[in-house]
Symmetry: C2
Subunit: 188 residues, 2 copies
């Protein structure tokens, strides 16, 4: 079972993302990542000289970028609220595909912070900012005023992230569905 060179690191990061989503930051232990990824123990400090901290940061940054790429729906004129569809559909898929076990890795790192990772707060802030920027640009393209686009982008990220937490708790996509339906009129 020869492994493809250079892929071990990626598989470890992928596993770290999954664990972060499902179990929270404290669930991303080195042992858990090794067990989940099947990576050889000897690879840990080869691929991540910074140890666990580097692994966790790599995971949240990769996940943040990946999720940000889901925000790409170009709206048709007259329906600005569809700019949220890419983002929202992503979360709906993630929740249902995982049986409501998988949540947002960025929130997980944001609230489970024992101060051991000073860079964690920076990474979280940057990711949330990047998402808001993307949404803001799409809202402006859709014809909304600049300042209002900025505010609604922030509302969207907050409401959707909160809804994802509720969805997991209720084991249903209803919170997300309700949030989007009720928020839609604001985007006219």
């Amino acid at each position: 079972m020869k492994r493809i060179p250079g892929r071990t690191r990626q598989r470890m990061v992928d596993s770290a993302v999954t664990l972060l989503r499902e179990r929270g930051a404290s669930g991303v232990s080195i042992d858990a990542v090794l067990a989940h990824s099947g990576a050889p123990r000897g690879s840990v400090y080869h691929h991540f000289p910074g140890g666990r901290n580097e692994l966790v940061l790599s995971a949240v940054r990769q996940a943040g970028n990946h999720i940000g790429r889901q925000i790409n729906r170009r709206p048709t004129v007259g329906e600005p609220h569809v700019v949220l569809d890419g983002f929202v559909d992503y979360w709906r898929r993630t929740l249902t595909d995982s049986g409501y076990r998988s949540g947002c890795p960025v929130v997980a790192l944001a609230v489970d912070n024992r101060g051991e990772l000073p860079e964690a707060a920076d990474a979280v802030r940057e990711i949330f900012w990047a998402w808001q920027e993307k949404l803001r640009e799409l809202l402006i393209e859709a014809g909304l005023p600049t300042e209002r686009s900025k505010r609604l982008a922030k509302v969207a990220v907050a409401a959707v992230e909160g809804a994802v937490v509720l969805c997991r708790a209720e084991r249903s996509t209803e919170p997300l569905d309700v949030v989007i339906e009720e928020l839609a009129p604001l985007f006219q």
Copy 2:
């Protein structure tokens, strides 16, 4: 320094709540609670036969009840959106008073779940449900239709909880302020 009987347990729970808010579920270790509360080590399994699990559950339930009690603002006719004021003011105070170190203990337990606490998911669901019920009742009192009150209560909890996460990340109450201002029109 004789301690008042029966208060040690309460101080431990209070400390557990603080640690849950600031460091996440994994930050609520027995050692951390003892250090924070000054409680004697010998008291742990006397007051909490179920060990750490019982302590964490007691903490989130107490905090959930306490926060639920903040939702008590009776609205004046014609301004239904003020039913959110008690809830929102509470979070604003919590965030600023703690220098944005303190977040929501219920969210913390919801996302930092390593499956060691099966009852945690139940507690989280019940608390979120109780908050929504309180808000729903107040919205109905304020004159909103029953079904819509239920939906808006869910939107409010989701948006506010998400905003609290963003507030900590940005070290600012702006996300909460923006969310409330933008959501207000929905409550007419």
